[in-house]
Symmetry: D2
């Protein structure tokens, strides 16, 4: 028709080839959303579990391309493999599909995690895609998010403990404004008897979704004998991803080459990962 | 921290200033979604009403910037005013907020429109933003979508009537492949006794959301007398937006100048719009 | 070949359709270039004439698309018609072709304008393309540049007169830092006997290149009689383009419709334009 | 001023960090330019030498960022180091500076390479910037250009020999249309007595500009003795860059780490490179 020319005004941004693509989804104005729904402060396990479940659904839906995901607070970062062909790497298609699928799952799964609390209004999530040319850049990205989780969590724990203990919000803020990490650890221990290291890893480290080696036991059809095999399975785990340990133990995640080579041969115990 | 440099890899596309911005949201793989949920073919009023309700929520949520919306099938187009400052016109923020809010509302509102049908899985919606420099271009965009609605709807109606009447899908397709609009009208009338012009406007024209003049009756606090005033209210309407009539009768929508001038003075009846 | 995949890494930015496109070219580090070539301060007519000649060549080379050009100091802005199809509106192609053609002409034409001065090194020019959706925006752009020309020129004239008269550069700067336009006019007049309004228009207003109505006299082949006709010819002119006068007298430049209608019928004298 | 808002319409594309950036400059409509200036067919050494000299000037001008350049026909590719901060990686600034400096040098240096031939008109060069995330991608890019050089050159040599020998252009084209590389080599040898491998490397391989190890002899001020030292010097060389040999012998070019480590210690003969 004579109107079709308007389609030419569309612009298609394509994400640079052969780069890691990170899609970060973040809740819109969640400070208000958590208030309206009385989330426990500073961390509400139900809310975080819900976020993880939404992320898992996204990972399954885009299982061809998402190789890793990391979540904390109201945000989730999805790592797409360097060579993903998803939507021909069209930026708008990718970020809107991720944000909308995440959001619709949030509503869909809400009642499973908050059985006693009605959802008052459906939330929105913004999303963006960022390209990282090297694995070092990608590792630094993930470290940035996990460090952010740690810093915020330590701060928030102190803040809410102080407020609980009777301090005004302004006092609490002022008190913490000059403290370093170590000071906050001491404050928690001395004033509130909390050993920060004993706080749940989910709160301190955030949540990781990826395929990890897991024992799988299957009965042999013929012999009836039980056999245990290592298989890579999609799991939520809580652990450090800033250091090299995790990546050395899970070389398949970011390095398809070494991953392929080691396939099935990896017998190393993955005991440090808590699923 | 030493990781923060990774933030510099983010790219922020800004939508050109002083252009109309159209955000079009479209259901992902809805041919499959409607099948899984047994939507009536070719139009399921419940589904379209649900789409309209989601769009209304989006319009209310972004009432400062959305001046018009048009929906058909699994898609909705939102027109943002030329001078919108929403997210500083950042493309990614805008499209992901729209797509995710639309999607989360779809799940949230589902049961109101499909009280007897469980939602099997939460849908995703892609979205894109397109800039139009002139009002003529914007009008052509909207005409393009409404013409698309008409063409698809006429075709689909014929197609499903033929299939209902016993033709195979391939036969129906082949039969229609050579027909013009007029042929399809005749086929409907002669073979199925359907006067296409009598089909619901919602199916033939799609749905429009905008502020239209509506009578509002209020009791005067002091005198107790009822007074009727014209007010602009957000409504879903079904009408032609290709011709000039609608736009002449509603100059406020796209032309803020003339809109402002006429404010409150517009006494012209808007009888042709079915709310 | 197996290497051809690398072509897919190219990104093609396309300038939004139906917008005015301004390509602004600007000399790289010209403060140094003019010093090395002892340009007269603050304005060297030879340099400006050379800039104009380069711009004329660019206009002729891209005569299908450039409808107007404005130059001042070491920069030139070229206005491309809204509907230009040049290089399919590919941004990189457009800006590099303009910058390189401008630069190669600068060297090529140098000796015509500086017959006694050898060019010491070939200059570079950066360039950018900017889209303007409305004619009002475009007019504001051009006003911005002409206002910039005026402000800089007035300042520079004062500055160099003060320096000539014995002030140090720092003194001159400090003296001028608190002055308004009017103060500078007075300073010029009182201290140096200069009526700023009598300075050459080229310096005060910058240079404009466009098609203006010009008398053209031709001998009739048959009758031998001389006939004078108005024709639109590409010229360099110096005049105000901030006010409406110029644009009312030359409606053909930005408004092709009215331009076409008036074609050949425009008999209004264009006496205010100095070619 | 009230006009300054127009600056906000500018868009600044930034080239992705930590990627190799290739800026490829290419003569605009050079098939016509070479005809107008009677270039020798298919290769005019004077023209290629001029291209090399322009490229050398660009390399010197941007010596901080250009680490390698490759030229053939009317094009030159400049490789900018991954971490270049040039113009804050602003795409438009980079490509227009390169294209314009190349073009202005072309005119400036013309008479040195064509002392007997006047330049009829100044040429334009388009330019683009392409990001490559890995060194493998970059190597493939360079291989792509060198393979292109080889293929075109072999074809062109056959073509013009056939035309010289009396064939019409259409005949020559048709004859070659079905030939493989080997066939063309044989045709040259059998029909024209040309051993393609003995053609100048500049024609067969294109031109490379980079810092290579060169002996440098200096007289010791005190002892008066001559000392020869290896230094890395910017040179034009002609050699294969598709295989690994060149890159192994010159690890400093693309790998700054190993380059730094080996600095000054590299004593390996670089005999295969003809400067
Ligand atoms: N109480 C509580 N608050 C949480 C929890 N998880 C996240 N939040 C809150 C803390 C922050 O106020 C907010 C996340 O911060 P953001 O920087 O994303 O800001 P917000 O979403 O308000 O605005 P935005 O639209 O993202 O700019 O969510 C939780 O488990 N419990
Ligand atoms: N039966 C039925 N189908 C509908 C209705 N509304 C929309 N649909 C279906 C018809 C089309 O198959 C589909 C919309 O077409 P699209 O071009 O958007 O394709 P689809 O969403 O499948 O794929 P996409 O991911 O958008 O490329 O939705 C309805 O009311 N009833
Ligand atoms: N003496 C003299 N200087 C002039 C004339 N025309 C332009 N210039 C100088 C004045 C400014 O220093 C310079 C233009 O200013 P710009 O803002 O373009 O700065 P410049 O080119 O130095 O740096 P850039 O690379 O553009 O950021 O050129 C002239 O006719 N005579
Ligand atoms: N005779 C002769 N021709 C050459 C020489 N070097 C380059 N050329 C010609 C051959 C090609 O026609 C032309 C380069 O081809 P391009 O693909 O760049 O096309 P052209 O520049 O004509 O158009 P463009 O604006 O780049 O699309 O330059 C030379 O040394 N001698
Ligand atoms: O949202 P913030 O403030 O945590 O930081 P950001 O996500 O980088 O900012 P924005 O959402 O505006 O891109
Ligand atoms: O999705 P289609 O096929 O109706 O057409 P489109 O939306 O323009 O295509 P895409 O979704 O791939 O941009
Ligand atoms: O170059 P300036 O400082 O006159 O201003 P600009 O041209 O807007 O700045 P840039 O050249 O860095 O885009
Ligand atoms: O110019 P060509 O045809 O050699 O190929 P290209 O340079 O990739 O095409 P374009 O100049 O149109 O980008
Ligand atoms: Mg944010
Ligand atoms: Mg948030
Ligand atoms: Mg957040
Ligand atoms: Mg689509
Ligand atoms: Mg769809
Ligand atoms: Mg659709
Ligand atoms: Mg500048
Ligand atoms: Mg300059
Ligand atoms: Mg300047
Ligand atoms: Mg080309
Ligand atoms: Mg060329
Ligand atoms: Mg070429």
């Amino acid at each position: 028709s004579r109107y079709e020319y308007v389609k030419n005004f569309e612009r298609d941004e394509v994400l640079l080839h052969n780069c890691w693509v990170v899609v970060r989804v973040d809740g819109r104005a969640f400070h208000q959303f958590v208030d309206e729904h009385d989330f426990i402060k500073p961390n509400d396990k139900r809310g975080l579990d819900l976020m993880n479940e939404c992320a898992l659904e996204v990972c399954k839906n885009f299982s061809d391309c998402v190789v890793f995901a990391y979540g904390e607070s109201d945000e989730y970062s999805f790592v797409l493999s360097r060579d993903t062909k998803l939507f021909n790497r069209r930026q708008a298609k990718i970020i809107t599909s991720f944000s909308s699928l995440f959001a619709s799952n949030y509503v869909f799964l809400w009642s499973r995690f908050f059985p006693d609390k009605a959802l008052k209004r459906p939330p929105a999530f913004d999303a963006r895609a960022v390209c990282y040319p090297t694995t070092e850049n990608l590792r630094d990205y993930l470290s940035w998010r996990q460090a952010d989780c740690h810093i915020n969590n330590l701060y928030n724990l102190c803040y809410w403990k102080l407020v609980e203990s009777g301090k005004s919000r302004t006092e609490a803020e002022k008190l913490l404004s000059t403290t370093l990490s170590q000071d906050k650890n001491e404050l928690l221990f001395k004033q509130f008897g909390i050993n920060y290291a004993h706080e749940p890893e989910m709160f301190r480290k955030g949540s990781i979704i990826c395929k990890v080696w897991a024992d799988e036991t299957k009965k042999d059809e013929k012999t009836g004998q039980e056999k245990t095999r290592k298989k890579r399975r999609l799991r939520v785990v809580y652990c450090d991803i800033i250091g090299d340990k995790f990546w050395k133990e899970n070389p398949e995640i970011l390095n398809e080459e070494s991953g392929k080579k080691n396939k099935g041969k990896n017998t190393q115990a993955k005991t440090d990962i808590k699923t």
